[in-house]
Assembly symmetry: C2
Amino acid sequence: MKVIAVGSIALDTIKTPFGEAKDVLGGSASYFSISASYFTSVGIIGVVGKDFPEEFLDLFRKMGIDTRGIKIEDGKTFRWVGEYGYDLGNPKTLDLQLNVFERFEPQVSDEMGNVEILFLAAIHPELQLEVMKKVNARLILSDTRDHWIKGERNKLLEVLKKTNGVLINEEEARMLSEEYNILKAARAIMKMGPEFLVIKRGEYGAVLFYKERIFYVPAYPLEVIFDPTGAGDSFAGGFAGFLAHTGDYSFDNIKKAVVYGSAMGSFAVEKFSVEGLINLNEGEILERAKKFREFVEFEL
Amino acid sequence: MKVIAVGSIALDTIKTPFGEAKDVLGGSASYFSISASYFTSVGIIGVVGKDFPEEFLDLFRKMGIDTRGIKIEDGKTFRWVGEYGYDLGNPKTLDLQLNVFERFEPQVSDEMGNVEILFLAAIHPELQLEVMKKVNARLILSDTRDHWIKGERNKLLEVLKKTNGVLINEEEARMLSEEYNILKAARAIMKMGPEFLVIKRGEYGAVLFYKERIFYVPAYPLEVIFDPTGAGDSFAGGFAGFLAHTGDYSFDNIKKAVVYGSAMGSFAVEKFSVEGLINLNEGEILERAKKFREFVEFEL
């Protein structure tokens, strides 16, 4: 395996202005791994309950994802019920049941001991630290969210110290750095440890900060964003998958990874749940990635 | 003259988290014309009161701006007192006195009859229509704001029918089109008349829509944005100034104009009032414009 992802696997019920989907596959590790599977070999570390549909495990396997790290425990799978408004911004959480995820103990098997990239999705920093200790990765990427920034700052700082690259939302970057200005925020976060940082800005695209260098990519223009859930994790999957496949961590290659990540994020939001990610081919992905160049190129 | 701008000339009092400036030069026509003056010959159509400092008229003249269209009327100049919060987003208007601007009657002299570009800043659509009738321009650019979208929609639609290119804020584009999605919004606005549209997104840069083609440019990354006032009008000045200078209205050239506009907008926000715009040279402007390419270029 080239990439290991540790994160949530969930059953989501999602309401958007365009419709509703009930008990569909969700969770950061799901979006991440399906997205990354187009670029490289991926394994998931996670937990589900006995109610987790076999068809979703089959889907992971069909995508070539190693599911041996998914523990099936007595109890129910993590469930989230969310509703998006017309602006498709931050969803309102209508219900959240951690269920088996509350007692999640990441299981790292021997064959997962050495990988190219370890992706730590936005879970408790304590768990992120635990997995870091067990997995020997060339590159560690981490994400986090407001909840841990507010409640587990010290643990999170420990994680960041050992992280090579952070992928984070703009709001969270501001909260973590206590800086409103995005350039100041990025510099403050890089001082916490990471060599690079990708700030995800939703409909405004993403920005890569790599030492003193900056790279912007817009969001792919879509007339209909069907379901924004998982956009960030799908971005991370394309990003990490491409990087792990190439094994090249230069600025130029990380820029490419940002573009592939943006392409994968745009596919994810075109349909409910992971539907937009499961029937792609390499040609489509490359074509969409190339579009990003068309959108920004100019001669002076 | 290659470019005529009609808009406000004001005395601004501005409070930002970084300081305060009292009775400084402001107004859409001021920012626009100073910015455009680096690219081409510009004239202003506007009105000020007897209290308008001679030094500001001298400044316009020093920048090579034709001030013969500025009427000096009995009474006081348009005054605006605004305060920006820490996010430097929409300012709070603490005081607004239209003064002589309330009875503004644009004066078009004969030598202003034929120009390359007419820029209609965000003033009453009735005035925009009046100036359109009197000026024979190869290209008409217009801006507007929430106030006219809400209160003078029909008149504004008349303006848009005769407008070649719209420059507008993102919020206003949504309000005008009644579409949240920016792509849908742009398409709806182009159906109202304009062949192209630039949506200004503040710290997220700008997007050009030209028929079915799209071009994104990020905002120039600045650690300190001193005073966001006039960023959009400075953008418009660089944009229109470059276009008028070249006389080329192809997509490729409009893209360049968006980049020059972005560069000028970034200079404007680095200092209070028009200070950031008045001591530039061509080399600096070109250098900053080139930076935009560095920020977005990548190879797949």
